[in-house]
């Protein structure tokens, strides 16, 4: 009996030693309701372990209560030589690893799988021709128009997800103003990126030119036009007063109270709402939308077999099965071709999905590792501009200098 026990023990030890362990670091693990897998990350773990007997996948939740907690955990693991095989975090955090030697070029490992993804999204995680991640489902911030209010003031809104001009928006704004309502909310009491700065897209402003995220490039006629428009909106009362002191929550509350004609947040849940790209100035092709998503990065473990498994795992996490489930249950926007976000009760995300797919993304560097550093820089300068303390020229000069100092 003792001999049998010893043999079994040795076999278990040998199996344990031979088993290959992969680690996935993620932030949040939503349940997979009504499916045979308990959570989002249980599924790829189970599938990979079934496909490759002897392979064990360890799930590591980096979600922390403190902002920055995920960053700290992720960076500490990397620094201590315990880099996870797959890092499944927001693209902003993941993009830090988009370089040779850190993240794998997935084209070398899973080229056929990558063909399933929308090129528009795959482009965002491609640097120097190397695909460093697979994107999960996306979220979009588009412009929500309160149709109930539009009807009330006598303005006929265009069909959802269609391009519209700033002139058309201003017609609506004038009607709203006449009824004591506001066209939108400009604020800088809390961080205005991307909520307020998305309006820059309407004028064709490019925060970063040619994908060079090392410097901000807003010294342009487009920026001057955008700032002049914002000044006019404030001075003529098309937006609520005290813009520099309004915070994001105030903006949401004002919209929910039915006082705002169009805002980046849902205007008023009981009211009818339609989603659009940001209205565009003459000569500007697209309005702006902003999106964020989870990117699955297979880290380079300097071991061909482990790397292959890591790449396979990265694809499995947000593959078509997951994205379809996510789109159909929560209205998420799929980044894989052919998955349509359906119309769900009380959820108008299908409109935002259409806006995103038709008009693309406004690039404010949100997918870069430097985003947290770059993002807060604008706030004091925009506040001073809103308050009339500095003019457009000073804003551009001061902001660009400060942003570029922060980026470098």
């Amino acid at each position: 009996m003792r001999r049998v026990f010893l043999i079994v023990l040795l076999a278990l030890v040998a199996f344990g030693l031979s088993a290959q362990k992969l680690t996935v670091l993620f932030e949040g693990n939503p349940p997979f309701i009504g499916q045979k897998w308990a959570t989002m990350y249980d599924r790829p773990k189970q599938i990979l372990e079934e496909r490759h007997p002897g392979v064990k996948v360890e799930l590591l939740d980096a979600t922390a209560g403190v902002q920055g907690g995920v960053n700290v955990m992720l960076e500490s693991l990397v620094a201590s030589g315990q880099t996870p095989n797959v890092v499944s975090v927001t693209v902003m955090r993941a993009s830090k690893f988009f370089k040779p030697g850190q993240a794998l070029d997935l084209k070398q490992y899973v080229p056929n799988d990558l063909k399933k993804w929308e090129p528009m999204f795959l482009d965002r995680v491609t640097k120097g021709g190397k695909v460093y991640a697979v994107p999960g489902t996306a979220g979009a911030l588009t412009l929500a128009v309160n149709l109930t209010l539009a009807e009330e003031v006598g303005w006929k809104a265009p069909p959802y997800a269609t391009a519209w001009t700033l002139d058309s928006f201003m017609e609506y704004a004038k009607l709203l103003k006449a009824k004591g309502k506001y066209a939108t909310v400009l604020f800088s009491g809390s961080n205005p990126i991307p909520y307020v700065t998305a309006w820059f897209a309407s004028f064709g402003v490019e925060f970063f030119k040619n994908g060079d995220y090392s410097k901000v490039t807003i010294d342009s006629p487009q920026t001057r036009k955008a700032l002049a428009w914002m000044r006019m909106m404030i001075d003529e009362g098309y937006v609520p007063p005290n813009a520099s002191q309004i915070i994001d929550d105030d903006s949401v509350a004002l919209s929910a109270a039915g006082n705002i004609g169009a805002n980046i947040w849902i205007a008023n849940p009981p009211a009818k709402t339609a989603y659009y790209p940001f209205p565009h100035a003459t000569g500007v092709k697209t309005g702006g939308v902003f999106s964020n998503y989870i990117a699955n990065v297979a880290m380079d473990k300097k071991d061909k077999k482990l790397n292959q498994l890591g790449a396979e795992l990265a694809v499995l996490i947000t593959d078509d099965v997951y994205q379809k489930y996510s789109a159909e249950t929560s209205g998420a926007i799929a980044t894989i071709k052919g998955i349509v976000t359906p119309k769900l009760p009380g959820n108008d995300n299908y409109q935002a999905a259409e806006v995103l797919k038709k008009f693309g993304l406004f690039d404010m560097g949100a997918e870069t590792a430097k985003y947290p550093v770059f993002r807060p820089v604008i706030q004091p300068f925009l506040s001073q501009f809103f308050d009339g303390v500095i003019d457009a020229e000073t804003f551009i000069k001061k902001y660009e200098a400060a942003a570029n100092e922060a980026l470098n």
């Binding site: 500490s76 609520p240 309004i246 947290p372 550093v373």
Partner: protein, 270 residues
């Protein structure tokens, strides 16, 4: 070494491990540009940057103003209230003390939406009279008011508990000599608990320089980051702007400034 000195050893070890060592590590970390992957030694560059950062230097001054306003406001209400409660008959006093303690149980973030509504810059009830977030000092005063409202009843309860410990026979003797109730409170009871009040005030001042929650959830350091306290500023540098090395340098400077103030206070006291 006396055997009794050994009794402080566990406390000393914990203090070293969880206060002194992290503080020293923070000061050292301030010499690095940290991103956990390619950390770069930058010498005193972070310290220079911190000293040249008007936001940070302003936050140190703000911390001092918060400490003065919060402690002055809190104790100017809590002391008379606590003394008055201490005179109540025992049964009633206990009930009042319990009632005073209840507001202290409400977490600041729960109250945040209410305060945001009160000070809302677009349609708040005060906006027609004065917009508090339009000016650094009024924003600091508003946050201090929020802190005072949240802490005054707990302080009053503490004062009443300590004041009640001053014997009834002393109070009765003073009253027999013709002292009014308030004369007894100010001239007999208050001096009797003065040391405790001073300690409460020092703790209150330390707490006030570390205001974070109300800034993070209500004021957002408006206008334009000018009304933040030092701890909020350090948090924002480290965890919002992800500049860990700079945040560590700011922490070391904050601790040094704090230590300097304590040292000066001690010298003045001598």
């Amino acid at each position: 070494m006396k055997r009794s000195s050994l009794l402080i050893l566990p406390c000393l070890v914990l203090c070293l491990m969880f206060s002194v060592v992290p503080m020293a590590l923070s000061a050292v970390a301030g010499l690095w540009k940290i991103d956990f992957q390619d950390n770069v030694f930058v010498g005193v560059a972070n310290y220079v940057k911190a000293f040249r950062d008007p936001r940070f230097m302003g936050s140190l001054l703000n911390g001092l103003v918060y400490a003065i306003l919060c402690v002055a406001g809190n104790f100017s209400i809590a002391i008379p209230l606590g003394l008055a409660v201490s005179d109540l008959p025992k049964g009633v006093r206990r009930k009042v003390q319990t009632a005073l303690f209840i507001p202290g149980l409400i977490i600041g973030v729960v109250m945040a939406p209410l305060w945001r509504m009160v000070f809302n810059p677009v349609n708040g009830p005060l906006v027609g009279i004065f917009n508090v977030w339009s000016n650094r000092w009024s924003a600091i005063a508003a946050v201090s008011l929020i802190v005072i409202v949240g802490s005054v009843s707990t302080t009053a309860m503490s004062v009443s508990v300590y004041a009640a410990s001053v014997g009834n026979e002393v109070r009765e003797a003073a009253r027999m000599d013709g002292a009014s109730n308030w004369r007894v409170r100010w001239s007999i009871v208050l001096p009797g608990i003065a040391n405790v009040i001073v300690i409460l005030m020092i703790l209150g001042m330390i707490g006030a320089t570390q205001i974070w929650e109300n800034i993070q959830t209500i004021s957002y350091a408006r206008p334009s980051f000018t009304s933040g306290g030092p701890i909020w500023e350090i948090y924002d540098t480290g965890f919002t702007r992800i500049q860990y090395g700079l945040a560590c340098a700011k922490t070391a400077i904050y601790l040094a400034a704090f230590g300097l103030i304590m040292l000066v206070a001690r010298l003045v006291k001598r």
